[in-house]
Symmetry: C2
């Protein structure tokens, strides 16, 4: 291909996108139109925070908790959200309503932005907000949900809290991506990373739980405070189980009766193989199944479900 230096006044986008609706700068637009300037430090410095909430059967699940975590991240990054919290809610409802999706993956994002003179001082940038709703996606596909995920424990250390505060939900995923390729290279489907003490931390977009004698244990140090993780801890408490947040060694993980991972993208997902050995007998266990049932039942519970304001049909 010869490169001919001729300037085109407008960019023409040749790519295909999933169906969805976004909000950016006061405008609801198809998700194919939602783009970040290449000069936005949200891209160039990954100087951004976000949160992802899902809509299941027409209702947001724990929207308040997601918004609260998102606003906490914005504040910790010393950003100013350019929309009010009330508008934020309306924007999220609007994206889902205009998309028509009944099951949706909804993301809210605040980026550092940039200044017209492209200053390197983050205090001079105008912060941006955007949001989008696309079809619901899951870490595990249907087959993996049924038979359990095959996970690799990698030697990659999750970016430690002394570098990036995990309370700021962030896009720093190269450690997770490195772990993922290490897992693929060993025939596994996804990865677990370590914390700086060599214990299990988390995986690409999910927290992890070990079940032993009916009790739940999940890592605490340097991991994302997942909303699904919190939900599972609450379910465990309601069921009268012992639940504990603390160090989880690889040995304890491999010796667990059951292992599962949790994410807004997929909920509670069984793990039946770690490295080259099955978890117990390699089948999805009863505690995982019970918690999964309750997790989905809570989606119809008015404590957690907020119906999307779908658009009223136009009057006849």
């Amino acid at each position: 291909m010869p490169i001919t230096p001729v300037l085109n006044p407008r960019y023409r986008d040749p790519h295909a996108y999933p169906h969805g609706v976004a909000w950016q700068d006061g405008q609801f637009i198809p998700v194919s139109e939602a783009k970040i300037s290449v000069l936005d430090y949200g891209f160039l410095h990954s100087d951004a925070t976000y949160d992802t909430v899902h809509v299941w059967d027409g209702a947001f699940f724990r929207l308040d908790a997601h918004i609260e975590r998102f606003l906490g991240g914005v504040e910790r990054l010393r950003m100013t959200l350019p929309v009010s919290t009330e508008d934020l809610r309306d924007i999220l409802h609007g994206c889902v309503a205009l998309s028509g999706h009944r099951r949706s993956y909804v993301e809210m994002i605040c980026t550092r932005g940039w200044s017209p003179d492209f200053s390197r001082d983050p205090r001079k940038s105008g912060n941006r907000f955007l949001a989008f709703a696309v079809p619901y996606g899951s870490v595990a596909n249907a087959e993996q949900m049924r038979r359990g995920l095959h996970v690799r424990v990698t030697d990659v250390t999750r970016i430690p809290p002394g570098s990036v505060n995990p309370a700021i939900k962030n896009y720093h995923w190269l450690d997770l991506i490195g772990g993922l390729y290490q897992a693929y290279d060993h025939g596994a489907e996804t990865a677990l990373l370590l914390d700086s003490d060599g214990n299990i931390a988390e995986g690409p977009g999910f927290n992890v739980f070990a079940v032993k004698d009916g009790a739940l244990l999940t890592p605490e140090h340097g991991v994302l405070a997942g909303i699904t993780r919190r939900t599972v801890l609450e379910i465990g408490q309601e069921e009268g189980r012992e639940v504990r947040e603390g160090a989880l060694s690889k040995e304890a993980l491999c010796a667990a009766d059951e292992v599962f991972v949790t994410s807004t993208a997929g909920g509670v997902m069984p793990v039946t193989r770690i490295d080259d050995a099955p978890v117990r007998d390699g089948t999805v266990g009863p505690v995982t199944e019970a918690i999964t049932r309750t997790y989905w039942a809570w989606h119809a519970d008015s404590r957690y479900a907020e119906p999307v304001s779908y658009l009223a049909p136009a009057p006849e």
Copy 2:
């Protein structure tokens, strides 16, 4: 502001941009048109690598070294650059030529991209390449170049190599941004971060050097292999100085005769104040000045300078 859920078919961009030219998907376009989809994992997972080269008085400086480092990062991330190396060079020349800038900051970027079904498996994404040229920028402004930067040694740890390989030049800057705000809070102008042993690592976009008895010392562990850093080490060797890459403690830094930082964005930049104390007598030192002179002199040296193929005037 009431949020009215009405879909607009196209996004209208209300923001201002610096002057520049970008290349994306086979098209040279104004930098204001150069945008990343909100679904590109180069944004959503900061799953991208890049390099920045500068043009000074109409010539690229050490373009080969920047391209080599960039291609190394692309390979380590298991990406496939969708353009040939020859086209890459032509694209960089084209961006600068069409911008008309004689002094320019030129960035080449490879992102993971996405797949039309928005799969979470990075192997399924189509990788994207883009590039842009904007006016040359510097970490230090004119006044800071003259009197030296005021730097704060923060307690933030640079993301360690066990998490993200620093040989992959990456956009994971939240540790650097956190350090920068810590510096601002203490009245400093920029920040130094620590490595996991508590020694000095690097700052937001720059490496650091200490000068003691004429010898140069720069950190080695977990820092970016900066091209300006390499150039300064080579200048030091040519000048017959002792040059060393190794651990630099905060104490050694503060006891140095001179301190400077290096970046493609600014070159060699003096540091005359660390925390609340001057470096030696608080003035820019002679070694820093000598190295700075040679650094800029090398920009006219045919070993390192590659003239930009500016567009020939149209034939009469």
